[in-house]
């Protein structure tokens, strides 16, 4: 079964139709998705800005990560679940949307960025934990993260506009 066939099948499931046609549930899921942005992305921005040496310079990077990561992980879980529900409500149109595809690509790149950070700069964190300006690889990870997430937010907003349908 191709992805397209899967989406076509998904679109005809009772749950998808119910969510699509709901008066209250869909807007509520959408609101949860947008407002949880503050929890997940808001604190991710704080972490990235610290990696860039742009704020909270007196606080060790490891402390910021330790204190904020549980919140970003919880926020991310809510984003994934609410985002999946939004996709589930409108599978075909979303799958074919160029901004949705860009958003997924950026999301994968953001994941890759975290994986690279954990295998490189993060390993030597003990040596630069207190530095107001972390080493280049750490700053790069923060900057790339900010750029990718900005792209993800913009693409996410654009999915709703059916310019190319």
């Amino acid at each position: 079964m191709s992805l397209l066939e899967f989406c076509r099948w998904l679109e005809n499931t009772p749950g998808s139709i119910a969510l699509h046609e709901s008066i209250w549930v869909y807007p509520i899921v959408e609101s949860v998705h947008v407002l949880t942005l503050c929890v997940f992305l808001g604190l991710t921005v704080v972490i990235d800005l610290r990696l860039l040496g742009a704020t909270l310079l007196a606080t060790p990077v490891s402390q910021i990560l330790r204190r904020f990561l549980p919140w970003t992980v919880a926020g991310f879980a809510v984003m994934v679940v609410s985002g999946a529900l939004l996709f589930y409500a409108i599978p075909m149109k979303t799958y074919l949307n160029i901004f949705f595809r860009l958003k997924v690509a950026f999301l994968l790149m953001a994941g890759l960025n975290v994986a690279i950070f954990q295998r490189t700069a993060s390993r030597t964190m003990a040596g630069w934990d207190h530095d107001p300006k972390p080493p280049f690889r750490a700053r790069l990870a923060g900057g790339v993260s900010l750029a990718l997430w900005a792209g993800i937010v913009i693409c996410g907003r654009m999915i709703a506009y059916n310019w190319f349908d």
């Binding site: 942005l37 503050c38 204190r67 904020f68 907003r157």
Partner: protein, 158 residues
């Protein structure tokens, strides 16, 4: 000049007209509004978590407040600027939209609360004020900002 006259004037201004006439201008400004939201939301959350003795902890609140202040002011400026542009494109519709007035009322209260009670509490020596006061301030701030966000989201459903 009545408020409705002002709203009508905004909507018929060249800015409002340009945003309405463009296909991509409204979504682009909306995206900027959302990016501002991420920064503002993160800063507000970080400060309030501290006041709740979560996040960076109660002792960090004063330092945190000073460090994130430029980001708070900057993100509020981006939000107000982009929000006003969005407003001009559909001001008359918003005049009759309950969610818009809820959002504006909550926004006024949030900003007023932030620069008065919250600022004082965050900068105060944690040993000299009760933990309860810090917690109440944080909860009130979170509720007010939530109302702003929810009201804003609800404007889109009409």
């Amino acid at each position: 000049m009545s408020l409705l006259t002002f709203f009508t004037w905004c909507e018929s201004s060249w800015i409002g007209q340009a945003i309405r006439d463009s296909r991509w201008l409204f979504p682009a400004i909306e995206s900027l509004h959302l990016l501002g939201l991420a920064v503002l939301g993160g800063v507000v959350l970080a400060v309030n978590l501290s006041l709740l003795d979560l996040g960076l902890g109660r002792k960090s609140a004063a330092g945190l407040w000073r460090e994130v202040r430029p980001w708070l002011v900057g993100s509020v400026a981006v939000m107000l600027g982009s929000g006003f542009l969005l407003f001009t494109s559909e001001a008359v519709k918003l005049y009759y939209h309950g969610a818009f007035w809820v959002k504006m009322g909550a926004l006024f209260l949030s900003l007023a609360f932030t620069v008065t009670a919250q600022r004082r509490t965050a900068l105060a020596d944690p040993n000299h004020i009760s933990p309860l006061r810090s917690r109440v301030v944080a909860v009130v701030s979170l509720l007010l900002w939530f109302l702003v966000g929810a009201g804003g989201r609800w404007i889109g459903f009409s």
